[in-house]
């Protein structure tokens, strides 16, 4: 899906505050991937980082809900920015 659109793919944790990204993939154990998917983190969906802090958790907005994600988890959600 992201093949023909030149852009960067980074972990959600690296997304600066207020910036939007499109979810590409979640890497991680089955339970984690499943939980995130159920909460609406599916590929192709837009996610905005509302709050982020160095080494702390992030607050993300996805499908109209505001979800706190620990840094470890946020490193496993890959998003596409720019393009």
């Amino acid at each position: 899906m992201y093949m023909y659109r030149p852009s960067r793919i980074i972990p959600l944790a690296m997304l600066p505050e207020g910036v939007r990204g499109i979810i590409v993939k979640i890497i991680g154990g089955r339970g984690l991937v499943r939980r995130l998917t159920e909460m609406g983190f599916t590929p192709g969906i837009e996610v905005t980082v509302l709050k982020s802090s160095f080494q702390g958790p992030i607050l993300a907005m996805i499908r109209g809900s505001r979800i706190v994600i620990g840094r470890g988890v946020a490193m496993k959600i890959l998003v596409e920015v720019g393009g």
Binding site: R35, I45, S53, G64, R66, V68, G70
Partner: protein, 666 residues
Amino acid sequence: MKIKVALIGNPNVGKSLIFNNLTGGRSHIGNWPGKTVEKKEGRCIYNGVEMEIIDLPGVYSLTAQSIDELIARDYIIEEKPDIVIDIADASNLERNLYLTLQLMELEVKLILVLNKMDIAENLGYNIDVEALSKKLGIPIVTTIATEGKGMDELKKIIAESIHREWKAKKISYGREIDELIFKFEKLIAVERQFSTKYPTRWLAIKILERDEDILKKIKKSRNLDEILKNIDESIKVLGDEPDVALAEKRYEWISSILPQVLKGIRPVTLSDMLDKVFLDKHLGIPIFLSLWWSLFRFTYDVSAPLSDLIDIFFNRLGDIVKEYISNEQLASFIADGILGGIGGVLVFLPSILFLFFGLSILEDSGYLARAAFVMDKLMYKLGLNGRSFIPILLGFGCNVPAIMATRTIKNEKDRVLTIVVNPLISCSARLPVYILIGGAVLGEYATAGVYSMYILGIVLAVSMALLFRRIIPFFKSGRTPFIMELPMYAKPILKTTVIHMWERGSLFLRKAGTIIFLGVISVWFLSTHPWGSPIEETYIAILGKILEPLFYPLGFDWRGAVALFFGFIAKEIVVGAFSIFFGFGGEGEEESLKQYIRTHKIFTPLTGYAFMAFTLTYIPCIATLGAIYRETGSWKWVLFTVTYELILAYTVAFTIVTAGHLLGFT
């Protein structure tokens, strides 16, 4: 005929409030996800139809990962209620409908409730309820639970549903997947052991998703080989994460109907702006600490004059009793034992009410969940995450519900760790001791002294968690992922707050009438018998003198020792015991308990402070021990907690006294 009605939905959508509205029940309400962790039953009668309503923990799907989720899932899937009410947050339809789709697949009699319609409206959303109902094929009721709106409609539709049948729409997953589902369905449909128990299409979907629970059940199938072969084949179509593939399809379906039923885009809300401040990386923790400080300041200041009034009341009553009852033993029993001892505890009713008032406001405003965010970094250092901070904060009220709240923690080791350190969090039962001793000996630093106990509690809990992680092999574990929905801020609702205060207040009174009563009366009896002897020669003094050497290094005399001894039952008894020992003094001076403790040098500021710290730490009360046993399922952890806390209490108090001496205090 009684119909069984289960309430299910995402966390924090208002299930328990609706439950309370329908049944007159008292489920815990607050504005953060994960409050209800066990199932609760209540009754409701409408038009002669009797309904048994079941409140369940919140879930995002029917795949359970933690104890609370398991309770909800099992109830819906295995107990088969007659009606399932799916409560959805109207202001967050997209995500909430995900669970709805899963429930539709279960082919239960499903009613959708769109709650929080007021919030949806404030956000400018316009929901075409009729169109949505058509798309899903299920009846919908809109409600505003906080205002009781829609409750009658809901009752009506439930009552009428006995005579009605309806079938939810089947969601198509696209041709390829639908074909796979159909294949499995055919294989299962011929086996009555499955097909009579669960809907075959649902089972087929679960097999396709490779749901661990269902795969276990399927092991008994005669067609097992065929099923397994088909599963292998399905991987070619769905990839190695079939559950994710299906979840995506469900969301795709939701996204496809949403524009037709929902108008409006989510604006930037006040919540978003407030979070800029409350969740700020520099301000977050200072704001947390100052809010907490204000809470205790408030509790302390507002309750003090009320407590004085109650104190005066019991004293007067005691005087009257002594005057009019000629039998000395009876007079002492009533005046010193009941009015002095129990009265000495009841004096703190206002403090406890206002503490819970404050806590309730923090919960209802939505701040509690923010505190979990702010504290995540700290908790991360313990190998825990922000979620574990919520039981800590709840512990300020009472350790029992706090320990139960750990059910939402998925990793068993993290959960047990969070449980065993929780008793170090200073609950409301310890507050009376701080107020009494702190007020007596710390002078103008009393409030700061009390506050410092709460800080000390957190510091100790955190240090112990860190220590246990390091030295106890059981607690070595990987990290639990931190994922938590953040509720919107809300104006606290007076009714909820008052109910919460009332609940806790009546619990305290009940405790005062039972367990505290027993403890205090025992203290009274032992401190007045053999009848007529000076207190130094009573039974309690004998017990106290045995314990005294143990506490001598800490600077507590035998009375402190005995008070702590009985305080094991419930920590309020410590205060009750002191009121018995010093309350009546017998010297005829009109001095308060606090003055007596100060002027008779029962405690110096230093030993008083150490006594407070000891009370904080030394042993969980009986109710908390019971909760530890229930939630860990083992006496081992109960014993562990008691042992480490006793050692810790002694160490902490001894350190305070020793450090104080070095600094020149006495």
